[in-house]
């Protein structure tokens, strides 16, 4: 189909292919804001996760229900959303057109990560969705019901290995709250954290762990196929479409939902807050939103206004209490599940080893130099360039991508030339850098919708 490539010129088909690629990228680009007040929804997680999906579904539904509305999604991932939270609380203060997606995981993340900001620093708007948690065992497991598993768990807590998502996440919280309901200290739980529900699914299917806990959706396929047995769900009552009893039916007075909500920045007037709440309430009532809920398997947990504020406080108190009791029990080593390797074993050993080996190596390399010594000019070039690289992060948020990249480009070119100061040369370097950085800026921010400062 394509002519054989030549070394001198680009075949015309090739150019067309590239053009097509560029066109495709432009097609993909989210429509850049034109309306007067574009709404920004911050997803404090990487693309693909639950918070990101919530933000993107909101974007789609708002675009469909409010003609001409412009909604942007911004991902600020990190540390259970607390990085996004602290940036949101600080940089969006008083902005009535900004929302942050949040949820149960952030409540515990704030505490375990010692975040300087909590959800109390934001303005609550509304709870939107939730996902029911499910407790499963492999089809071959001897445990046929939740009471049977609870009995075994009470008899020997360590022998029941619970698999689930990350430490401090919803799955972890559920198992520990369950333990407390059964009269066991939360710290006696043998909880095995996996990177996400997917890895936990493999572990429970392979019989590596006794039981696993996750959002119902993650296990739904296997439950339907009969490979996993759903022992209980964490909803307050039986849920249509799910053939499993609740924890309460098994005598465990507990319900927990992996809820997701949106909050606004601090410093809003009551009128601004109410307007935003009204907008989100309209969105949540739309047919498009209901359809999206069904499609993603999310429960409709819409709750706004004072009720939502009260709910948020109650959840915070519940999670905080649990984590405090856990932290307190950590101080008594006997209460902790026995571990010959603790989280601090490896870093401690590594730091000592690294220091020792580096010392020996440093002494060795002083006595017999492995590389040719550097010239004074060489050092100067390296130091100039190093300094430029260290200045870049400072300049980046203030002066923007184009200016800081031009600086680095020119410094790099100057250092590489290594012939001292030549104004004419440096000027062309700056021009080249400017052109290159400008081109990249256009491709990324306009073409791909990846905003650069």
């Amino acid at each position: 189909m394509l002519p054989s490539p030549t070394r001198t010129a680009l075949p015309p088909t090739c150019t067309r292919v590239i053009l097509r690629g560029v066109l495709a990228i432009l097609l993909v680009a989210p429509i850049i804001a034109q309306a007067s007040a574009p709404l920004m929804i911050v997803a404090p997680a990487a693309p693909g996760g639950g918070w990101d999906q919530t933000a993107r579904v909101m974007q789609r539904v708002l675009a469909a229900t409010e003609p001409g509305a412009s909604v942007q999604v911004d991902n600020v991932p990190g540390a259970a959303g607390t990085i996004g939270l602290s940036r949101f609380v600080q940089s969006e203060r008083g902005n009535p057109a900004a929302l942050l997606v949040t949820g149960l995981v952030m409540v515990s993340g704030v505490i375990t990560n010692g975040s300087a900001f909590s959800l109390a620093d934001a303005t609550p708007i509304a709870r939107l969705t939730g996902e029911t948690e499910v407790i499963v065992v492999p089809a071959a497991s001897p445990y046929q019901s939740m009471p049977a598993l609870a009995e075994a768990f009470k008899a020997n807590p360590g022998a029941v290995a619970w698999g689930g998502g990350s430490a401090g996440g919803t799955d972890d919280l559920l198992v520990r709250l369950m333990a407390e309901q059964l009269g066991l200290p939360a710290s006696r739980v043998n909880y095995i954290a996996f990177a996400g529900g997917g890895a936990a699914l493999a572990a429970v299917l392979g019989g590596q762990v006794t039981a696993a806990v996750s959002g119902y959706g993650e296990f739904a396929g296997q439950i339907a196929a009969g490979q996993l047995r759903a022992l209980a769900i964490s909803a307050p009552a039986r849920t249509p479409g799910i053939d499993a009893p609740t924890l309460r039916e098994a005598g465990i007075a507990l319900d927990l939902s992996n809820w997701r909500a949106v909050v606004a920045p601090p410093g809003l007037s009551d009128a601004e807050r109410d307007a935003l709440t009204a907008r989100i309430t309209r969105m949540a009532g739309s047919a498009a939103w209901q359809q999206a809920l069904a499609q993603n398997g999310w429960d409709d947990l819409f709750l706004a206004g004072a009720d939502f504020r009260r709910f948020l406080l109650a959840e915070q108190a519940r999670v905080e209490g649990l984590l405090q009791r856990l932290a307190a029990s950590d101080t008594t080593p006997a209460a902790r599940a026995t571990r010959s390797i603790t989280p601090t074993t490896l870093p401690g050993a590594l730091l000592i080893l690294l220091a020792a080996v580096s010392m020996v190596f440093a002494i060795g390399s002083i006595t017999n130099r492995p590389t040719a010594p550097m010239s004074g000019a060489g050092w100067r070039s390296a130091v100039t360039l190093g300094a430029a690289l260290l200045v870049q992060p400072l300049l980046f948020p203030v002066a923007g991508f184009i200016v800081s990249s031009t600086l680095v480009f020119a410094a790099g070119a100057h250092a590489l030339r290594g012939r001292g100061w030549q104004p004419a040369r440096s000027l062309t370097d700056v021009a080249m850098g400017l052109a290159f950085a400008g081109l990249l800026y256009v491709i990324f921010s306009r073409g791909l919708g990846v905003s650069l400062p």
């Binding site: 394509l2 993909v28 996760g49 430490a167 959706g217 390399s365 190093g386 790099g412 030339r417 990846v450």
Partner: protein, 493 residues
């Protein structure tokens, strides 16, 4: 088999062919651009494809995934700047080949190797998915830890000429791997109260810092007398000798990549690293590794693509995402009301087999698309050296920034770059830092998880047959390695 033919009928529908083409083209583009991976692209596209036919959308997404695997090697080879973790290993020898005037051959062996591996692995996916799944589920934490032990023993050959320097680098990498929230306990380690460090240190940023920034500083410090980068020496394409040296690594890379990709612990880092180490062990001239050995590009690139196909095994059969892209693909399935898992093949045979068949088609498209691009890419290297390195610095910072869009990443990038420069000054190899950073956290997590499940009983590692076998393999390899260790003199000037 008849299912697969039916799948081809779906994939070869003109409209689906067009979607596949759009996908692979877009995939190649995002693979080449730094910091924009397939996961981000598919996530951005999800809302746009809402009204599309699910089969067409998924064919396009799969094309993006495969395309990014092809495109990702380009910046690694030309600019020493890996755009994603899967192509870190490619930079080791790929960029050295480019400096020696063999960029064309490096890109070609990557493209052809990706085609060979992608096609064979897709074949393996169509034929062996059910068996692979059973094998993958047999892997518990004990087995993973034993596998990591094998990996560690294998890759210590990559430590390079200066053994002590290699250990310094390895330990540095292992220590960097500990930074952040401990996955098992949720405790913060070595973060010194800095919130930025809570999520740990991204291997991609470390690779860019060590390779691209560290190298640029080093070149600058050596002054202008250092040898020029040769755009093309000899033929632009692979020579007969290079073909002869490439085909075995392609096949071995496929054999390593597919099963490891199918394991639920996932990721392309381990297969590419293992393939590199295996090629170095088996090479007739292991001393060429680190200085532009084509086997060191051919093997890992094949392993990378094969593991991408492997990732689809648990995704399609269990609904189990083992990489960031697979997780977004899962979300895509769910958006269309499809539940990947054991019942998907029964409920949606047309869709599943259509997507699988489109992978064959996509691979062929990618080969045709990428080979002509080689000539264009190589031209980049004829840019004057100061501007080329200036450009590398800008692309490197952009790549690091767009991973998480945080200026903190730029601080880390500069710091790692300076460390990389320091390591070069004292004559220590930089590759072991990456080994420590990639394998260390995985090995520790699996070890502690296994002990946690067994309630601190160390015997699990020898009582489980698969784990015991793997540990025995590691022990034999270690003894064999120690007995035939000859003094290597590979250090460069």
């Amino acid at each position: 088999m008849s299912d697969l033919w039916q799948g081809f009928a779906v994939a070869l529908e003109p409209l689906n062919l067009l979607w596949a083409l759009a996908g692979v083209t877009l995939g190649t583009a995002v693979g080449v651009l730094p910091g924009i991976g397939p996961a981000l692209t598919v996530a951005l596209l999800l809302p746009v494809t809402y009204g599309l036919d699910p089969t067409a959308a998924l064919i396009m997404f799969a094309g993006i995934y495969y395309g990014a695997m092809y495109g990702g090697s380009t910046t690694s080879i030309l600019l020493n700047t890996p755009g994603e973790s899967a192509t870190i290993v490619t930079a080791l020898d790929g960029h050295q080949m480019a400096r020696n005037g063999r960029a064309g051959a490096a890109l070609a062996t990557a493209a052809v190797g990706s085609f060979v591996a992608g096609t064979l692995a897709t074949l393996a996916l169509s034929l062996t998915a059910p068996i692979m799944v059973r094998l993958a589920l047999a892997f518990g934490s004990a087995e993973y830890f034993a596998l990591m032990a094998v990996a560690f023993v294998t890759v210590t050959t990559v430590l390079g000429g200066s053994r002590l320097g290699g250990w310094v680098s390895l330990l540095l990498g292992l220590t960097l791997g500990c930074v952040g929230i401990d996955a098992l306990s949720g405790e913060a380690r070595l973060t010194f109260g800095i919130p930025y460090l809570l999520d740990g240190i991204d291997p991609v940023i470390v690779a860019i810092g060590l390779f691209a920034i560290g190298e640029t500083l080093w070149v600058a410090s050596r002054g202008p007398e250092l040898e020029e980068i040769l755009p093309v020496k000899g033929s632009l394409w692979m020579t007969a000798d290079e073909w002869a040296r490439s085909w075995r690594p392609w096949l071995r890379g496929t054999a390593i990549g597919f099963p490891l990709g199918a394991l639920p612990a996932g990721g392309a880092e381990l297969p590419t690293l293992l393939s590199y180490a295996v090629e170095k062990r088996l090479a007739r001239r292991p001393e060429e590794f680190g200085h532009g050995a084509i086997e060191g590009v051919a093997g890992p690139e094949a392993a990378n693509n094969a593991s991408a196909a492997g990732t689809l095994v648990p995704l399609l059969t269990l609904g189990l995402p083992t990489s960031a892209t697979a997780a977004v693909l899962l979300a895509a399935f769910q958006q269309f009301g499809l539940q990947p898992g054991p019942l998907l093949f029964d409920h949606e045979p047309r869709l599943v087999w259509g997507v699988i068949a489109s992978l064959y088609v996509g691979n062929l498209m990618l080969l045709v698309l990428n080979l002509p691009l080689v000539g264009l890419w190589v031209k980049l290297l004829s840019i004057p050296r100061p501007w080329l390195y200036g450009g590398i610095l800008v692309v490197a910072s952009l790549g690091a920034y767009s991973v998480h869009r945080s200026a903190g990443d730029l601080v880390l990038l500069a710091a790692i770059g300076i460390i990389g420069f320091g390591l070069r000054v004292v004559g220590a190899p930089v590759a072991p830092v990456m080994i420590g950073l990639i394998l260390g956290p995985a090995a520790e997590q699996h070890l502690r998880r296994a002990l946690s499940i067994s309630q601190d009983d160390w015997s699990v590692f020898v009582t489980r047959p698969l784990s015991a076998t793997l540990l025995a393999v590691a022990a034999v390899m270690l003894l064999w390695g120690l007995s035939r260790r000859e003094p290597t003199a590979t250090i460069k000037g």
